[in-house]
Amino acid sequence: MSFLKIKNLSVDYKMRRETINAAKNVNIDVNKGEILGLVGESGSGKSTVGNAIINLIDEPGRVSKGSIVLDGIDIHADPQNIVKYRGKKIGLIFQDPQTSLNPILTIGEQLIETIQTHLNLNVDDAKNKAINLLKEVGIKDAETRFDNYPHQFSGGMRQRVVISLALCCEPELLIADEPTTALDVSIQSQILDLIKKLTKERNLAVILITHDMGVIAETADRVAVMKNGDLVEIGPTKELLTKPKEIYTKSLVSSVPPTNKKISRFKIIEKENKKQSDTNIKILNRWVKKEISDKDLVQVESLSKTFDDSFFIESSKNSVMAVNDVSFSIKEGQSFGLVGESGSGKSTIAKMIVNLFKPSSGDIYFNDVCVTKIKSNKEMLKFRKQIQMIFQDPYSSLNGRLKVKDIVSEPIKLHNPSVSSKDLDDYIYDLLESVELTQQSAERYPHEFSGGQRQRISIARALATQPRLLVCDEPTSALDVSIQAQILNLLKDLQEQLNLTILFISHDLPVVRQMCDRIAVLKNGKLCEISNTEDLFIKPKHDYTKELLKLMPKIESIYK
């Protein structure tokens, strides 16, 4: 008999037009001392299942069917009763430690309140228990930190406090909903190690909800895969990842960028996949192709950027050195990767290259022209035409008030005001088809498209000026893996056929390995090392690179 048994769980959201089944007849069991990974892409219903267990589903959702049996007791039989299990038997950890804690209560107050809600302890005993717990989750000086407010902790430390709060009444089931998604790789591995350690020491049953196959491979004992509310497949991690039975699981696994080798394209496994062949890049005819030279297209020389906290008084104390003396160059036709954790300055460098920010010091040369010294508007427009950018967030990168047609035509009209409307339409259609969108898309608005399709519109807009350099700032990190694989394939095809130079910015090492020829690693605004991709992954020189490579979750770890 397993410790937790979810039987035929269905969750419905009654919406205006239809009822959405966020979970359909889901059956999952979890044993004590085991971590069950619950994976799926956005909208798969994985978080819904997690919330349904403790009956905390957002309006207008509700559990329409099924039972949840914990330790032999159906805890949903009496809805009033479930409150008693929250915190006492079941602990929950949320994704974002920044918002999970009450900002105006000290962590001690929050811990003591939770402990006293469930356990019959006086204040002193509760405090002792809380301090021991804080020590257990790895918070130093627990006695003094006890009286601190949440804002006095860093992100990783805060997540440790959240874990201690979830565990303070010794629950036997822990539900962790994307507990490391908001954290950097190095902190992610610490938190995952902590969860693994606690599972073993306390003999917990853990449900780890995540979208990251690498995290699953490294932590979960068993995996359940969900798609559109259905449980697709469930089984031991190794078996499921190496020998997936269902088509969906297969495509999910093959979409994950491998960390140990470079592949030319991602295999897309889908049921109605008609044209697996190279994309038909129609705009090729319009493209003025540059002959491949061995010249540097971009040169960055001792670039620095300082942000002042207070713009009113020039003070050196508050200023943050976001980028510190960085130099590199990119050859024409090359794909160059900038890698680093949050705060490494990688996006700031990108924004300086496209001239959204002015550097504090240092120079940027594009095609031998010093970008920072461009004065006239005409010169600037000429420069703008040659560099375009693709952004991380597919939702904010398109103006929701404009039709796709108007979004894509804006750069064309701006750089070629005399274009006739017939030519313009043809051009727009060619662009849309080149990124695998239909002509009909032109008349529609961005909100009618999915995240991946929006990213394609973004690419079409960027290609409209026929740029030589395409800056991609985390272009796929907001997308699901299967969509990521498609977009990465598209970018590769475009680069090959149009001979684009690409500056690819990412925190995701496996993705960078697939996309780039050369890679620069950044930490806290400083350059750690630059080398060719395969060299970097096989024999990294800098300690930080070594650490990053060691800590990144690897799906291949399952083969060991």
């Binding site: 403790i54 905390l56 409150v83 008693k84 299990y85 929250r86 915190g87 006492k88 602990g91 929950l92 949320f94 974002d96 918002t99 999970s100 804690l101 009450n102 900002p103 105006i104 209560l105 000290t106 929050q110 309140e113 939770t114 809600t117 469930h118 601190n148 407010y149 804002h151 006095q152 902790f153 860093s154 992100g155 990783g156 430390m157 805060r158 959240v162 709060l165 979830a166 009444c169 902190i187």
Partner: protein, 314 residues
């Protein structure tokens, strides 16, 4: 800073709006006499000297003589001040206490029948101009029922520096209608703000997390949510008192309450500049004091301001 700006504005008002001499003397005054008065008043001095003198006088509480009433402005103000302050303080207490309570109630019980009723009334309250409320009250309680006085302060007790209406029955009766009238608009406003604030906080992750830990609803509402919800109420309260002083102009007119607002509205009608500028300086002073107090309260209530976050590596 703000005080200086206001002082300058009221000084300009004093000097450049209309010809002060024209306002002071009759038509038949000869040009020589006018020049003499001008010289006596120091109006021929350079502007900055005049400004310094104005500020100096203002600091001493000297704002000149009212054109219309021909009495020193400072005297008029001190005479009227207690009436306005008593009215405003009573109204502020009514508005803040009941507004916050009802706001919290409707924020927590979002779907109850009582909440709907309170909300509908509060929306009506925002739509009712203060003077209309006043007129309705007068008609109902003074004309039809005849239980409460419709104008004036009733009997007041003079304490030397202060004349209060709190010590006599008629004084207390007289303040009921004006203070309720004045507070009603503000109260409905506060209800809506507090409700919105509570609803937003109840949606946050930390409330969800508290629920997931099994903390009971009572503690979630009154310990976790309310404390966070009350932080913005401090700002609201500050603005609220300022607004009440301004709106007391209307209430005082409707109820012929012998306060500063009544004085001010007469001044606007007769372009009595000294009173206008003195009132302006007074209001600005009150606002600056309120802002100062609000800032201090924030410091004590919000740990994010009080306790600086240390740089801790994670």
């Amino acid at each position: 800073m703000v005080m200086l700006v206001v002082a300058f504005v009221s000084f300009s008002l004093f000097n450049f709006v209309g010809d002060p001499i024209n306002n002071m003397v009759g038509e038949e005054t000869s040009d020589e006499e006018r020049d003499q008065i001008r010289e006596d008043l120091g109006l021929n001095d350079p502007v900055h000297i005049q400004f310094i003198r104005f500020t100096g006088n203002a600091l001493k509480g000297n704002f000149g003589i009212s054109y219309q009433l021909r009495r020193p402005v400072s005297e008029l103000i001190t005479e009227r001040l207690p009436a306005t302050l008593e009215l405003v303080v009573i109204s502020a207490i009514i508005a803040l206490v009941s507004g916050t309570l009802l706001g919290v109630y409707t924020g927590i019980n979002r779907k109850g029948f009582l909440s709907d009723v309170i909300l509908a009334i509060s929306l009506l309250g925002v739509s009712l101009p203060t003077f209309v409320i006043g007129i309705l009250f007068i008609y109902l309680f003074a004309v039809i029922l005849g239980i409460l006085p419709s104008f004036g302060r009733g009997e007041v007790v003079d304490l030397g520096f202060w004349s209060t209406g709190f010590l006599t029955l008629s004084g207390l009766k007289a303040i009921i209608l004006p203070s309720v009238t004045l507070s009603l608009f503000q109260m409905t406003y506060i209800i809506r703000l507090v409700r919105a604030e509570m609803m937003e906080i109840l949606q946050t992750d930390y409330i969800k997390f508290a629920r997931a830990r099994g903390i009971n609803e009572k503690s979630i509402h009154y310990k976790h949510a309310l404390k966070n919800g009350l932080i913005p109420v401090i700002t609201i309260a500050g603005i609220n008192i300022g607004t009440l002083i301004a709106f007391s102009i209307i209430t005082e007119t409707v109820f012929q309450w012998p306060g500063m607002g009544f004085l001010f509205i007469q001044a606007v009608k007769f372009v009595d500049i000294p009173i206008m500028s003195a009132y302006l300086v007074f209001i600005a002073f009150v606002f600056v004091m309120i802002n100062f107090i609000v800032d201090i309260l924030y410091y004590f209530i919000d740990p994010r301001i009080r306790v600086k976050s240390e740089a801790v590596s994670g």
